[in-house]
Symmetry: C2
Subunit: 345 residues, 2 copies
């Protein structure tokens, strides 16, 4: 018997509502002998407006003590663009070295997709989470004048690329199709592109059973809509991963069902699990938000903490619910209740 | 009466075949009193293998004398990734300051799309062509070691952003819907993002009739598959433009019909027109390539040179052909002949 010590960050907009359902399902999924302890944090727009703070060193120290973090959504139109993204979301990913950003896509029978012909979609994107154009490197000179120059520096290291590429190979190796696609733009971004390609080819030698493939990011977006069934595992850089995972979510059931894990496989720091969608302030507080993406993020959290059977049970409950969902409109709470009931049964 | 002095670069793979059709249609479209003079250049993989050259200063001097350039496709698997892209395609865009990269998307009735429900798609992307992450800035240290660091620097200037943003506003102003969407990632790439956003908002003041909108690039990919009808004109950075125009092509009939213009509106240098697709070596020489994208690029070329009526005639011929195309398989030549016949009639 042991306990899970979970940090909960509901955040802004619909975050509160969807996180409540995630916790409901988590409680239903855990074995009796596992004690769930949660501590709630008030990060996001409210705290920023009240105190000017987004994420302090003391916050990081406090968060660090938990086994994992469940996040709803952070972001509000009342806060200037970039403040909460750079000051909270990215700060946390960097501080806790969340270098494996895991984003599975699976289109279930009966789930709406904008694509014709309901293709077979079942792949996972392993997005690098701590490098690339996300480092905040760069700057501005002569701001606001006609001579302004603004730069953004994408930073890529052999260390950073290799660990995420190896993680992706291991995930591909563990899946039935054993196929890994590197997505980059190595014909234009030749410095970073050569590093990614060299490391990818080198690590491939350690995984002879994995079939490998390379696509430029622009071509990858084409295949994501014309032939998504070709993908099994994709590994890619932070920015390309941001872009293609939103597209992947759109084609495989929408961002209402897209889960993600910001993972530090070393367990030196807690990993964080969150829906891919944002805070959707336009529908907040109305019980309209779909908590499915948060519940699927809870499944990733369970798997990360070693509760594989429970993770699989949550995923099976979601799959059954989505397949049978039909056209009936349910509230956030009703979907959460239905999922928790399935998991408990 | 005057003449058009055209540089023709068939290039690699299917380039030769599709350019031949483009020229056929161009000849059919031009008024009797306009003399068409063409000069063919042998750039691409063959010349690179024979001489090691991709594009010399002498080549640039020679190309510069023409009124416009028609390009088929450049690229071959026998050449290391990046050599022809950076050494020819991008070198030319930079040398001739092709800062307006124009890529229209229109889904015609009867044309296949991977999207369900045949949405109404009719928008144009204005992609910046000479800045951003495409400048070749950056580098590598400790190459090939476990301590390698590779950087890519996105360079953005007020001068460069403003001219392309103003061009996009003017294009939006000239269209019935008068709507312009800025696509960037200003919540993460805050230095470049603020420059783009500030310039966009400032120039908007000069175009009070144009409705404006902003989307993060990841969200834009979602809307391109769930609600492409929302777009009228999009303006965006070089790399984001590369990515979303391939996706735009995929949803609006495929890269077989996606045209582009690399435009220098000042006319100090010739602009270049090319299909968005690549050299497709797997189908080269078999008469299987669809020349439609090249023919639509010829329409952009005609419009750029002031032949608006002829451009519209070429576009109307393509629209009629696509709408009536049906399932019959035609060769590259047959499609070119059919389009030329429609244009001439
Ligand atoms: C909100 C933003 C910082 C974030 C990102 O770009 O990573 C989001 O788009 C995501 O994909 O998690
Ligand atoms: C081939 C490559 C250099 C080019 C680009 O990235 O611009 C192509 O993808 C395009 O979109 O024209």
């Amino acid at each position: 018997s042991h306990s899970i010590n979970l940090a909960v960050i509901p955040g802004d907009g619909i975050g509160q509502e969807v996180v409540a359902q995630g916790l409901k399902v988590l409680a239903a999924a855990l074995p009796q002998d596992v004690k769930l302890e949660t501590e709630e944090y008030d990060f996001g727009a409210r705290r920023y407006h009240a105190t000017g703070e987004t994420l302090t060193d003391a916050d990081l120290d406090s968060l660090k003590k938990h086994d994992a973090i469940l996040l709803g959504a952070i972001g509000d139109p009342s806060v200037p663009s970039g403040v909460l993204e750079r000051g909270f979301l990215l700060k946390l990913r960097f501080a806790f070295d969340h270098h494996v950003n895991l984003r599975p896509s699976k289109l279930l029978p009966g789930v709406a997709t904008p694509l014709a012909g309901q293709p077979a979609i079942d792949f996972v994107v392993v997005r690098e989470g701590t490098e690339g154009p996300y480092t905040g490197n760069g700057g501005t000179i002569r701001k606001g004048t006609e001579h302004e120059v603004a730069t953004e520096v994408s930073v890529n290291t052999a260390f950073g690329v290799e660990r995420v590429v190896r993680d992706a190979f291991a995930r591909a190796q563990a899946r039935p199709r054993k196929k890994l696609t590197l997505v980059h733009k190595n014909n234009v971004l030749t410095f970073a592109g050569h590093l990614w390609t060299d490391v990818f080819n080198r690590v491939a030698g350690e995984f002879p059973e994995v079939t490998t493939d390379y696509l430029h990011v622009d071509a990858a977006t084409i295949f994501l809509v014309t032939d998504p069934a070709r993908f099994d595992v994709i590994v890619t850089d932070n920015l390309f991963g941001d872009i293609i995972t939103d597209l992947a979510a759109a084609v495989s059931g929408g961002i209402g069902v897209a889960a993600s894990g910001n993972i530090n496989p070393s367990r030196d720091f807690p990993s964080m699990f969150e829906p891919v969608h944002g805070s959707a302030p336009d529908i907040a507080g109305q019980g309209k938000a779909d908590p499915t993406a948060t519940v699927l993020s809870v499944a990733l959290l369970l798997r990360h903490l070693g509760h594989e059977a429970e993770a699989a049970r949550v995923e099976a409950a979601v799959e059954a619910d989505l397949t049978e969902r039909g056209a009936a409109v349910r509230t956030t709470d009703e979907i959460g209740d239905a999922l928790a009931a399935r998991v408990a049964s």
